[in-house]
């Protein structure tokens, strides 16, 4: 499967120290200002529950591949959401089901607190669910 975007993020993060990772995350969030999230998608239907800030994720399918876009009202969370949606867009249902906690951990690293690590895991579960790709609950 093509995880090149994911690999780029992971390698960049690995090369940075804690302080710089933090600023990198904010930079990702700032870059996303250039791709505004559709106003009409910022409703309850796309809201991911259980976060300290609000997170919206929208899901599209093209050629049997899943594409995600996300947004949050907090910049740090927006950076995390962007890493997740960029990294795991373009995968098939079967590929998406293979993404695990270990993948997410590489996007996480030291700069982020455990609380946010939990948030990232919840995000993975959420996009897998949107795509019908939760391991174990997949249609045969």
């Amino acid at each position: 499967m093509d995880l090149s975007v994911y690999e780029d993020y992971a390698e960049t993060l690995e090369a940075l120290d804690d302080e710089m990772r933090f600023e990198y995350l904010l930079d990702i969030a700032k870059k996303k200002r250039g791709e505004p999230f559709p106003e009409e998608a910022m409703g309850d239907a796309h809201l991911m529950h259980g976060c300290m800030s609000r997170v919206w994720i929208i899901h599209d399918i093209a050629d049997d591949r899943h594409y995600f876009r996300g947004h949050s009202d907090a910049a740090i969370v927006k950076g995390l959401v962007a890493m997740m949606t960029d990294s795991f867009s373009g995968l098939t249902t079967a590929e998406l089901a293979q993404i695990t906690l270990d993948h997410v951990r590489r996007l996480n690293l030291g700069a982020l607190t455990t609380q946010r690590q939990v948030g990232m895991m919840a995000m993975l579960k959420h996009i897998q669910k949107l795509a019908g790709a939760r391991p174990g609950i997949q249609a045969a």
Binding site: D18, E19, F22, E23, M52, A74, A75, I76
Partner: protein
């Protein structure tokens, strides 16, 4: 074998100058760094740090005086029981309560409030009776009454706060009727810092014969408290916000109230005699302390009470008052910062929002600079709704904070604005 530290000398009573540098040296954690930056701990409203004397008391209790209380016919049990029971007197002293029998140990203020709800209110309230709380309550002083409402059909009335966070005494008074059986209010708002005029509230509540419970979680830490002068029936606080250990809280109850209350949990320690036909309950306060209590934590709380008493609650209050005034000055100076809660009578708890920035981001950027604050709704969602916000950043000061730390906070906010701008 490791040497057991001697119990440390208490700071001298009546020290006539309050020197934060000296006080800080009593708190080992304050000398650590986070992310290679000095720790600036401004999240005391959630839980305060512990002085060495509290840590020593815990160590001493486990290392030298540990045995179950009230039970053993031996030296150590006697020593632990004496130390534990001694803390009732210290707590009574701190609150100016009439005696140790008015002090019930709980695990935190939340449990203290639930005790009143499940024992006193359960026994004495019926459908249609009214409970008055305020808009600025912590969830701990809302949800137990909602549970009671669902069990018994009591009615919950909510006294409003003004836009600046002040408590509105007139609108509170207007809610009181002959059906008001309980007034349960916070002493100090954990979000706004507002000091509720609890003596006045109690006086008004008494005109309709209502019982008064005060949530002193934030009240006990910032100023002297005298439950007899206030005239309240119950006063609850939690040990960990008063520089003591987690796991222990206090409920002060007026003797006649406690005596008229049934037990709420059953087990060992709360009985006089048990047979399968009939059990005779112990007198208060033991009636409300089923099972082995958190006696080590209580002994730690005793050391914390000694510590603040030695510094003097007036002196602590004066120091924090100066910090609050300084915080007002420097935070108002940062463009884009909006203070939430500017009541004239306010403890050193500063909540604010920053224009265009999410509290979570502000908190995270401050964290990277070693500045610990809390962000979110602070377990007071109805208050957030009232103020028309979803979350705040909260800097809550303690006896060891300094003006320099508040300057660092202001600089940190400016840094966040630059990074996220």
């Amino acid at each position: 074998m490791t040497a057991i530290p001697a119990i440390r000398e208490m700071p001298a009573r009546g020290r006539n100058t309050y020197d934060p540098a000296v006080v800080r040296a009593d708190f080992p954690i304050l000398s650590r760094t986070v992310y290679n930056k000095p720790l600036r701990f401004l999240d005391n409203g959630a839980s305060a740090q512990k002085p060495q004397s509290v840590l020593d008391a815990l160590q001493n209790s486990y290392a030298r005086e540990y045995a179950n209380v009230h039970r053993g016919a031996h030296f150590l049990s006697g020593a632990a029981t004496e130390a534990y029971e001694g803390v009732r007197e210290k707590a009574a002293g701190l609150l100016n309560a009439p005696g140790p029998d008015t002090i019930v140990f709980t695990k935190n203020v939340t449990e203290s409030i639930n005790l009143v709800a499940c024992s006193w209110a359960e026994a004495h309230l019926s459908a249609g009776d009214e409970i008055v709380i305020t808009e600025m309550e912590h969830h701990a002083n809302i949800v137990p009454w909602q549970l009671l409402r669902d069990r018994k059909g009591v009615v919950l009335r909510v006294a409003p706060v003004e836009d600046d966070g002040s408590f509105d005494l007139d609108r509170f008074a207007a809610l009181l009727t002959e059906r008001t059986k309980l007034v349960s209010v916070t002493h100090v708002s954990n979000v706004l810092g507002t000091v509720v005029p609890v003596a006045e509230v109690t006086r008004l509540a008494k005109t309709v014969g209502a019982c008064v419970l005060i949530d002193g979680a934030q009240g006990i830490v910032h100023q002297p408290v005298d439950v007899q002068a206030i005239g309240c029936d119950f006063y609850a606080f939690t040990g960990h916000k008063l520089y003591g250990p987690t796991g222990v809280g206090i409920l002060y109850g007026r003797s006649d109230r406690l005596e008229a209350m049934p037990p709420w949990q059953g087990g060992g320690d709360m009985i006089d005699s048990v047979s399968f036909e009939q059990t005779v309950y112990a007198e208060p306060p033991m009636r409300f302390e089923a099972g082995t209590p958190p006696f080590v934590q209580a002994i730690g709380l005793g050391a914390a009470i000694d510590y603040v008493q030695a510094l003097g609650m007036e002196a602590i209050g004066a120091h924090e008052h100066a910090l609050r005034a300084h915080a007002f000055d420097v935070l108002r100076d940062v463009p884009g910062v909006r203070l939430i809660g500017e009541a004239p009578d306010k403890a050193a708890i500063m909540s604010f929002v920053v224009d265009g920035l999410h509290s979570l981001d502000v908190g995270a950027i401050l964290d990277r600079q070693g500045i610990a604050v809390r962000v979110g709704h602070h377990c007071a969602q109805p208050l957030m709704a009232r103020m028309g916000i979803e979350s705040t950043v909260r800097a809550s000061m303690a006896l060891y904070n300094t003006a320099e730390e508040i300057d660092a906070l202001a600089a940190g906010i400016r840094h966040a604005q630059k990074l996220l701008g």
